[in-house]
């Protein structure tokens, strides 16, 4: 059965209250806007890529606790990663929130496992995915707009 406390874990509530890397990045060389047309939420992800490595990442925007915490934890998880590593993480995160990740693979996700409760709330999967969609788009092209729909 879907559990509310499984969805709103303390880590998620904490990151909603005080998101990390929640700022504009003036010297970014990649930028993508993520839009969820269903709820009107939008956020921007900035990347500073150097030699194929994400040197810095930041985000700003409005959204629910799930989307904000997900973006916050995303920035922490991909900083310092190569493009390929980040893309692999996008895929694993997607599997996690849709409930298709094997148990033994969850460890590699670190703190992100806090979002495992989402698979019980399919309506909210898009909230958690918004910043990751934007990240993926920013890795692909310098200035992108993506939608969850």
């Amino acid at each position: 059965m879907a559990s509310l406390s499984g969805l709103y874990q303390d880590l998620i509530l904490d990151h909603n209250r005080a998101p990390q890397n929640f700022r504009r990045m003036e010297d970014a060389n990649r930028r993508a806007e993520g839009i969820n047309p269903l709820c009107g939420d939008r956020l921007t992800v900035w990347l500073k890529m150097e030699d194929g490595i994400i040197r810095d990442v930041a985000f700003q925007g409005s959204g629910c606790a799930i989307s904000k915490a997900s973006a916050s934890l995303m920035t922490g998880a991909v900083k310092g990663k190569t493009r390929a590593e980040a893309e692999a993480l996008v895929e694993r995160f997607r599997s996690l929130v849709t409930g298709s990740l094997q148990k033994d693979q969850t460890e590699s996700l670190g703190k992100l496992v806090a979002f495992s409760g989402l698979s019980e709330f399919p309506i909210r999967v898009k909230c958690a995915s918004l910043s990751w969609h934007a990240l993926r788009a920013a890795l692909d092209e310098p200035d992108a707009v993506v939608s969850t729909e």
């Binding site: 969805l7 709103y8 009107g40």
Partner: protein, 439 residues
């Protein structure tokens, strides 16, 4: 219709405090002033009898769609089980019965909104199709580059986008009358927009996001003084207010069946006969023609001219049952009960610290929009859902309204006559749970 003065006036009625189980200290009328036996009425709605995750369903998303009384469900099932046939075609018994049943609902709708004639009642798929029909049929034949269409800043997307499409096709310009911070239309601002080039006004009767009741009669009169026809989006008005075409004097009025306790997929366009007469068909097909040759066709008289193809026959029959149900209950009684509910909900919810109401017009119907400090409406929606309480969270298909009022989204509780004071308490208590969780 709730006025600010009315709210305070009702406090006398709301004198008696209910037991301590309610965490909210808003006074609740022990004996509501409106004689509506809500507990009995609720038994007419099968869907309301269920529990969600072990808790009784508290359905407060009526502005999205209303629930259906058993008579509506039964009449549609009966039609399919015993009367199903296509209309206006067959010479056989069933087709005759189906045609009769379908046409009877048209008479019923004409009475329900006090139209002059059944020729003024067009069945559509819903409000959206009704507006698109007027935009494409009336709009494309009457608008030229540089002409104006006037809407307001509180419209639903369905009363914005069809006009934007029309503007792209004709070179006309869409302008929106301003609204105040409380969500009231600025009537003076509206009047200033009406000009020599204004060809049409399209305005919402009751705002789906804010609950504001617009002064339609006045808006129509101001437009008519300048010879401008007016379309009224009545999607949220029809379930809550008595609407009278002769009294409102508008030229077009559209509403949806599913918001007046009928099925989805069916709606009504009222149009002044003289206007409908001169308008070209919206869609071509069966049922809307008089004669067809391979070279050209002639149109059927009203209302068939605007009903191409096989319509939602069972849906129309369900709509007929819904309107009959509403009529029996009495729209005045419904409006009065919902007014008390909204007044009580307004007091209960606004007392919660950190909650701010969005949409506080003096005259409102059915809708309580709000935001909570530090909590996104979606999270409110999910946590309330865990309590079995259904509300809507988001932009309510009214993004320009959200932008105007400076909020990305709101939470919205919307009421119907089958809602109770206890359900308002459940909402308020649920909001306290939200607050605790996000504290």
């Amino acid at each position: 219709m709730r006025g600010a003065a009315g709210q305070r006036g009702n406090r006398a009625v709301l004198a008696e405090r209910i037991g301590s189980e309610s965490a909210i200290a808003a006074p609740r009328p022990s004996r509501p002033a409106v004689p509506l036996d809500v507990e009995r009425v609720r038994t007419d709605f099968p869907i309301l009898q269920q529990t969600i995750r072990g808790k009784p369903l508290v359905y407060l998303d009526n502005a999205a769609t209303s629930q259906k009384p058993r008579v509506v469900i039964d009449s549609m099932a009966r039609f399919y089980a015993a009367e199903n046939a296509n209309i206006h075609r067959g010479v056989h018994h069933l087709s005759e019965r189906a045609t009769e049943a379908y046409d009877r609902v048209r008479e019923q709708v004409a009475r329900f909104i006090n139209a002059s004639s059944t020729r003024e009642i067009i069945f559509t798929r819903g409000t959206t199709e009704g507006i698109n029909l007027v935009a494409q049929s009336y709009g494309r034949t009457h608008l030229k580059p540089g002409d104006d269409i006037i809407i307001t800043a509180m419209e639903h997307h369905s009363n914005i986008v069809p006009w934007q499409l029309l503007c792209e096709q004709t070179g006309a310009v869409l302008r929106a009358a301003p609204i105040s911070d409380t969500g009231e239309l600025d009537v003076e601002g509206y009047e200033q927009l009406l000009g020599d080039r204004t060809r049409l006004v399209a305005v919402v009767h009751v705002s789906n996001a804010l609950g504001t009741i617009n002064p339609i009669k006045r808006l129509v009169a101001l437009a008519h003084e300048r010879g401008i026809p007016v379309l009224v989006d009545g999607a949220q008005a029809a379930p809550h207010l008595r609407v009278d075409m002769q009294d409102l004097d508008c030229d077009f009025f559209v509403f949806s069946g599913h918001k007046v306790y009928g099925p989805t997929g069916v709606g009504v366009l009222y149009g002044r006969e003289a206007l409908l007469e001169q308008m070209p068909p919206y869609q071509g097909g069966g049922d809307m023609i008089a004669t067809v040759t391979l070279q050209r066709s002639t149109w059927a008289p009203l209302p068939a001219k605007f009903e191409a193809g096989t319509p939602a026959i069972a849906g129309v029959i369900g709509l007929g049952s819904a309107l009959e149900y509403v009529d029996k209950l009495g729209l005045d009684k419904i409006a009065a009960w919902e007014d008390e509910l909204l007044g009580y909900a307004t007091e209960s919810v606004s007392q919660i610290e950190g909650v701010r109401l969005i949409g506080t017009a003096r005259k409102k119907a059915g809708v309580l929009g709000f935001v909570m400090e530090g909590v996104h409406p979606h999270d409110i929606g999910t946590i309330l859902d865990d309590e079995g309480i259904a509300i809507r969270a988001g932009h309510h298909c009214a993004q320009p309204v959200m932008e105007r009022l400076g909020v990305p989204a709101t939470a919205r509780a919307s009421f119907a006559f089958y809602n109770t004071f206890a359900e308002v308490d459940a909402l308020a208590n649920g909001l306290l749970t939200v607050k605790k969780m996000f504290a």
